[in-house]
């Protein structure tokens, strides 16, 4: 599969994402420069974590207007797969490709630590192959990760299985106590209605390398690759 990882000025998880996809998951990867408008025929686009354009305004607010994003939006609207991780999630919300918004963490501080998330359902490629009973240990690292959406939106998202992951404890219990940032309904990741655009605050690419002693994040990326490849094959057949 061919991935495109967008590099905004200020992206700082772009190298990690490329390394994980290329060296650990053995995928083809190209970097997509923010000033470019050529998507190089990629199968999937990843918007990595970081502080695009410094994020001095509101996270993702400026990146959303970069030249490459016009193409990313077109790509997503045509059904192309897009995953936003952390800052990438914030950008996708700012761009209107995902519902809701990401606010400052409830404690008003940056938080970096391992947390646990549980797949809410198995309806999207990103959680299709995951065990709904098995919590995954994935790091978070953000200052603005408190997911928010209106009750009406949430209700639609629930009905349509657009909630991908929720924060929980190491035995899969979902409660406010295990909500690291105050996200509504413990939401850690969401997708769009057509389930081709995904956003999540936790960093699966930081939990993919055996040498770091935690590979739970690899399961998420592997699910994505496998399901999308299957679809691609059936499409060509």
């Amino acid at each position: 599969m061919k991935f495109g990882v967008v590099v905004f000025p200020g992206s700082n998880c772009d190298h990690d994402t490329v390394y994980t996809l290329r060296e650990i998951l053995d995928q083809e990867v190209v970097e997509l420069w923010h000033k470019d408008t050529d998507l190089q025929d990629v199968d999937m686009i990843i918007l990595p974590g970081g502080f695009s354009y410094g994020d001095y305004l509101r996270s993702g607010a400026i990146a959303r207007y970069s030249p490459i994003m016009g193409k990313v939006i077109e790509f997503a609207e045509r059904g192309g797969y897009v995953l936003g991780i952390c800052n990438g999630f914030q950008i996708l919300c700012e761009a209107g490709l995902l519902p809701g918004a990401l606010l400052h963490n409830q404690n008003q501080k940056f938080i970096c630590k391992n947390i646990y998330i549980l797949p809410d359902n198995n309806e999207a490629p990103v959680n299709r192959l995951l065990d709904k009973e098995k919590p995954l240990k994935i790091p978070i690292a953000h200052g603005e990760g408190r997911y928010f959406a209106s009750p009406e939106t949430l209700s639609m998202m629930r009905q349509n299985n657009q909630i991908l992951f929720r924060y929980c404890n190491d035995s899969g219990e979902i409660s406010e106590q295990y909500n690291p940032n105050g996200s509504v309904e413990n939401i850690a990741g969401v997708c769009n209605e057509t389930k081709n655009v995904f956003g999540m605050m936790p960093h699966p690419e930081r939990a993919a390398d055996d040498e770091l002693g935690n590979t739970d994040g690899r399961l998420i990326l592997e699910s994505l690759i496998k399901i999308i490849l299957e679809k691609k094959i059936s499409y060509y057949n």
Partner: protein, 743 residues
Amino acid sequence: MSDTVVTLDVAEKLGLNSEEFDKIKEILGRTPNFTELSIYSVMWSEHASYKNSIKWLKTLPRDGKQILAAAGEENAGLVDLDNGIACAFKIESHNHPCAVEPYQGAATGVGGINRDIFTMGARPVAQLNSLRFGELENDRTKWLMKGVVKGIGDYGNSFGVPVVGGEVYFNKCYTTNPLVNAMSVGIMKKDDMISAIAKGKGNPVYIVGSSTGKDGIHGATFASADITENSAEDLPSVQVGDPFQEKLLLEATLELNKTGAVVGMQDMGAAGIICSTSEMSEKGGHGMRIDLSKVPLRQQNMEPWEILLSESQERMLVVVEKGREKDVEAVFEKWDLNCEIIGEVIEEDRLYFYKGEKLYADVPASTLVLGGGAPVYDREYKEPAYYKEFKKFLIDDVPEPENLQEVVKVLVKNPNIASKKWVVEQYDTMVGTGNMSTNFPSDAGLVNIKGTRSAIALTVDCNSRYVLADPDIGTQIAVAEASRNIVCSGGKPLAITNCLNFGNPYNPEVYWQFVNAVKGMSKACKKFGTPVTGGNVSFYNQTSIDGNVVPVFPTPTIGMLGLLKEKNNQMTMAFKRKGTMVYLIGKSRNDIASSEYLTTWHHIEKSPPPYFDLDEEYRIQKVVEDLIRFSLVLSAHDISEGGLFISLLESGIPKCMGFDITTDAEVRKDAFLFGEAQGRVVVSVSTTRETEFIDFMLQQDVPFSALGHVTKGEIRVDDVSYGFICDLTKDYTESLGAVFQDN
């Protein structure tokens, strides 16, 4: 301002003494003009010239086959990691800015030290920091600490380099003068090093990165009094950081290096353009002709001396091969950064600073810098009275508490001992996907060198109470502890960087502390084979206590780099499972001197440093190194603040395991549990390899003893329960956050 008539009075206001003023006149063969005087005043300041410390710094061991850049010669130390890979690392202080403006002070400290690393062509992969504040009950301390931690976090998190280690201590001597020491570590190909040098007649000199403003200009007080009444508002004494610009500058610098067009490069930190132009020129035996009107400014009406001295952040000076200008400019255009030619390299040892047609300064470059014309002083020193008094301490005069469980409850919440989770979770510790200690906590931070079999091990250490008690021994302990932390993580110590935080060097008693600290550092660095690769000296750190100005505890922070040659030798401090045996490598001593227990429980501040024997320490570390190499232990954790009990607790916390141990009848129980005698490591051993472990240990020339075993959760000492690990964990990990009440 530029046409102010220069007199001795003006020179003194800029911090120069009459002897120095005469020397400048002698060098120039005339009286300097105001711009030139400003240049000398800042280049000959303590900060830039090391005039009061260099004599002693030169006595430190600085050679070793692993050393690729001599101490002080480049922007940071450079150490060979084999396989063509090198590691650049350095620690620096930002104490004074933090005392005034903790957030920006700390942020720019992080920015500055990272710039030192990537100026050399290395990509920063890890940061550490060493912080000291006053007592935590104090509102000022809370304000300073919140600001410093947020400053470090906001800058480093955005810049994208993980924090992999650090220390935080509290003592009232740091109340008005916190210490903020930041260390950065980068990895590069050995052959890619960019030198801080200017050479090649006619080569263009570029300034790249942020525009220059009036921030951080020296003598702000002098200037603000003299220009106009209102100009003070335009002259913040602390620089302002922009991590986004720094991130762009990092990527552009590394890309620039690939063009092969770079002759030399230096970042602009203290003393701005004047420092980088003079140091690079002196190193290359050349000079420069600079036109200050070409420097991109963010403010209007800046005078030449202001442009020269501005400490605006996120800037670099680059000398490029003539003819390669287009390649260089393309890189900076890609990253949307300023890139302006401001002058050229000339053959003579001279710096000419023009603004347009007018010449504002004409000085020999070599006379400005350390090792060239900058003054070197021999300061007098004398042993302070307290030194002998501290030695009178006798353990027998200290009553042993009846209820040691109560002591434990107090110690685990002691901010010098308790978990620094509240601090650490505000830093991105995992960006870069290299931090190997996140899921396997270890005494030193381990960072993966991707694509190799190796990792680097990093730590910063200094217990300044020990250094106060005996600067020589205390500093030896700081080096020994750093080495011990690296060894306990499976690494081999390679080299150090240091940040020497002291009081006023003109105070002979402070200078005595400095001299003896340097002597102690020399001894220990020689023993552990860890040469000094550079660092920074910060004098004039003092605090007012009850109306008396007292120097801070002498705090020579040691940043150590080690190599884990084979990643599968990685060692964790965490107990693995119940039933495994717990041993002490080293010997329990009847010693509570300078311990947190002694100061917290008994409120005794005057005692010598804890037991320490350099040779014995070295032998113990060698044995621990072998135990790990032969896979004879499951965990290793050194004993430091809080003593054996706290060390066992810290080993138990990651997997929620307790321990059941027996004390030694020959040692007081409080000393056994809470004493801080050096040269001790707690290891756990699987029952299946215990015989092999004992056989191995019996052949070694170091003491060891069985302590007990790991339990499912209960903590027992001599068959008395000390509670359960989960309860103590809560007190240990949450107490610091509770002080701030914002978790």
